[in-house]
Symmetry: C2
Subunit: 526 residues, 2 copies
């Protein structure tokens, strides 16, 4: 049955070729044809375009298929005027007008106009066929590049258009689209605010393969790949080694709250909430500086703009000589390398995203601003918000602080050092000079926490004491404490949420915009 389909496909292709030859003969003889192959639409008279359009046979790697060199739409410019080219692209829009058919072809953010005019070599049937191609179908077009004086409205390639000589549907789209790409791509704050359709977040995510085709989404995920590349390249350049840590673990990392349970053969296991123990074990095993990029799982029933149940962690851990600031400032520099890399190498992507989501460009200082927790309390206090010296910052306080810091220092990124010991995990090294402080830091982008880190206690005796102080069952963290029994250098580190970095750098309002297939308490599809 399969083979039938494949054979059918082959046969129809052969038929299409034969047909082209026949059509030639037929044109000469001016005879009427009757034996149309199924892929070429029926015509009532001699079709001068026969063999120049239709549904292309399914591409199943047959060696007898034509081998054409395709050009990218972004390459179509005046210098190619007069040249004949082949383009494979999506049909973004189509409009018939009398004997003409206007098509817009799209590749990612690049678009070009194609004209199909009835002429000596282009039949009415070909124009009719073209105007009936469903939006989002993939087509192969042969065309002459033609210079346009006036500029093509609404297309990225303004200086040229294509005059088609062949058009083939390579993969056809269903006629009913659950969302229109132009709706999904519409600027959020355009002037004709109320008049245009917009697509809500759930509809987008339910139909993610369509939603991802918008220029902004293409740019967001290219930029996200850039964040990972910059993270890795910067740290590799500083002598870090990439490691991979297990996601399936035998005991919940931090006491068992917010952890997903997995059925593991006849027993059960958990999904790691963080690679921290494993990064620390790598340090205890002499890897000195390590990073890891991988999935992190949080079973928090938080339905907010910034929580996911699964996200990509950019984690690092580093041995230091005497002071955890060696690590903290390495992380600060890392962020600046990422910000500079994005600014310098992803300006096009940033601009495309700004066309849809118009937000302020991201600002940062070199070197990064470092504030003490007490500076933050003071700034907030001056703004009328009191924070106790052993209290954590609430999310609203963090956001306000972000605005205050921005106003005072003109930076969207800063480091907040010396959090109260009371609000940090048991493994955080206490400050040796201030009994209520700890050797820990958070870093912020646009007023939202983007990394939490600290010097970890590398001494099993102090670690045990601190665990007891926190009321933690020692039997459950025995393996963790044991990791430090055979000598371990002092070390610090932290974990960054990749999707948050991208969201906050671009100033987007929802983390689901920067996760290709987001997971939250209510969504595990597609």
């Amino acid at each position: 049955m399969v083979q039938d389909t494949v054979n059918e496909v082959k046969e129809s292709k052969k038929a299409a070729k034969k047909e082209a030859k026949k059509a030639e003969k037929a044109a000469k003889k001016a005879e009427h044809k009757s034996n149309q192959p199924s892929e070429v639409p029926a015509v009532e008279e001699v079709d001068v375009s026969s063999g120049k359009y239709g549904n292309f046979p399914l591409i199943c790697s047959d060696v007898t298929l034509p081998q054409r060199n395709f050009i990218y739409i972004k390459e179509l410019a005046k210098n190619l005027a007069g040249k004949t080219v082949w383009v494979r692209a999506r049909l973004h829009a189509v409009r018939a007008r009398g004997k003409q058919c206007f098509i817009v072809l799209r590749q990612r953010e690049h678009t070009v106009q194609v004209l199909i005019n009835v002429s000596e070599s282009i039949s009415k049937s070909m124009v009719k066929f073209s105007s009936g191609i469903t939006k989002e179908s993939i087509v192969d077009v042969e065309a002459k590049v033609s210079e346009v004086a006036a500029g093509v409205a609404g297309c990225s390639q303004q200086d040229v258009e294509l005059i088609a000589s062949e058009i083939w549907v390579v993969s056809s789209s269903a006629p009913q689209l659950p969302l229109q790409i132009e709706d999904a791509a519409r600027p959020e704050k355009s002037e004709d605010e109320g008049l245009n359709i917009r697509v809500n977040q759930d509809t987008r995510l339910d139909n993610r393969i369509l939603d991802l085709r918008t220029p902004a989404n293409q740019a967001i995920f290219r930029l996200e790949a850039g964040v990972c590349k910059l993270f890795r390249d910067t740290l590799s350049g500083k002598g870090f080694t990439e490691i991979h840590t297990p996601k399936i673990i035998s005991a919940a990392s931090e006491g068992g709250a917010n952890v997903f349970t997995v059925s593991y053969f006849k027993g059960s296991a958990y999904l790691a909430q963080s690679p921290q123990l494993y990064k620390q074990m790598a340090i205890a095993a002499d890897f000195e500086k390590v990073y890891t990029v991988g999935a992190v799982f949080r079973a928090e029933d938080s339905n907010t703009h910034r929580h996911l149940t699964e996200f990509v962690g950019l984690d690092l851990e580093m041995a230091f000589n005497y002071h955890y600031h060696e690590v903290m400032l390495t992380i600060g520099d890392l962020f600046n390398s990422i910000f500079k890399g994005l600014r310098d190498n992803y300006s096009k992507e940033i601009e495309i995203v700004r066309q849809q989501y118009n937000v302020e460009p991201f600002t940062f200082l070199e070197p990064p601003l470092v504030l003490q927790f007490n500076d933050a309390r003071k700034l907030l206090g001056e703004a009328g918000v009191e924070v106790g010296e052993e209290d954590d910052l609430s999310t609203p306080a963090e956001k306000l602080l972000g605005r205050l810091v921005k106003a005072k220092y003109d930076t969207d990124f800063y480091i907040l050092d010396k959090y109260p010991l009371a609000v940090r995990p048991f493994y955080t090294m206490p400050d040796p000079n201030n009994k209520i402080a700890s050797n820990s830091y958070d870093m912020f982008m646009r007023g939202e926490e983007i990394i939490s880190g600290a010097q970890r206690i590398h001494d099993p005796v102090l670690l045990t004491e601190r665990a007891k102080h926190h009321g933690i069952d020692l039997t459950k963290i025995a393996a963790y404490i044991d990791a430090f029994k055979f000598g371990c250098p002092p070390h610090a580190g932290g974990g960054i949420g990749m999707e948050r970095v991208v969201m906050l750098y671009l100033g987007l309002d929802n983390i689901r915009k920067t996760s290709m297939f987001p997971r939250d308490p209510k969504r595990i599809t597609p």
Copy 2:
């Protein structure tokens, strides 16, 4: 209580400093001291080395700690002879002989000998303290670099040794080690085979932080990081975009066998066995060429040398124009880039691994060898192993084939193209010219399968037909089929097991040697 510990630590450090001064005075006055700080061992007479050795206070980032510049052991060479340096390293071995103490310090694969001799400035107490430091402790040593004519046996730094003037324990190891590093590092096939202790795989994994400290393991995981880097850099250079795919999924990818179940709030979900659907969705969403590096889960109860329940997948997917060989050869080139990159940039690591596990160097051809499935059947047939034209290759047949190919073509890597349609998954594109074949390929390293890939069916009608033919419940794969409803370019791809690449490239005998914290049906710790 914590603060007490921290304060104690601070106090003891101050005490140590005071003590040093006191000792000077004491030496001058030749008076007996009695008020020893706890970290400095008690002596019965004036200790000329007082303040030059002991247990260093816990490093908790106190700003009053000394700021020393440490040198790496690998930098210690003749050109530094006569210079005084500070080294922080592990105490690898220690041996006292009369008034002398010999120490071997270790950093990864680098080792250097340290001498502590009783002298005018080095007390008996200091030598005694030094010889009592537990193996694997981390120590800070101040020493003069001294040229050695004869060469230091058993140390990587043969031309120099260190003459110590200070020694401080920064992080002490428990005295009883569950395994000895020298046992874990011993060559597998040394001449005195039967005489030496070796460490079995489970003991190694149970004590992974110690096991990972061996030179071979340090090299294996640096090389593994290199494989990932070469994979990404090669594909980025070819225009691929890195993506991240969810591990938590709503439906089992391939029919539900071998899949782990996760409790997901009030419902349940699964762990992805492959990122394939998501890579293909990215292709349908116009990303054109994508790769992803991430955890992949297989609930197979296979306790073999090459199966893990969680491993790192190096996956790629790529749209092509007319023939899946465009993709297959891209993957072949990718492997050659990885092999060349390892050979050229990781020769030191390869050599270190070979010192412990002595195997033949990996061979490959440029361009890679491509065999047809029927060529393989013929080769095997000539060797007396018959394989039916619609049969898959058994694991023993694959291994034999690897040996036959190696003998005939002198390559440890080759591509096997055109597998029988009957043995491939339902989404594999049938061969258009041979009804029992498919557009699919496996690739092999040292006779073991390292990647399985194919052209995927991008047409929803043919895909549905093939799923029915395989007896798959269409309702369970509706989302997968729907991904192709709105136009999708022809595409192919495959998934590589990272740990297998490293194992087979280095010729190791067990995949647990190339997974930092391996997971199998019987192990989810540490």
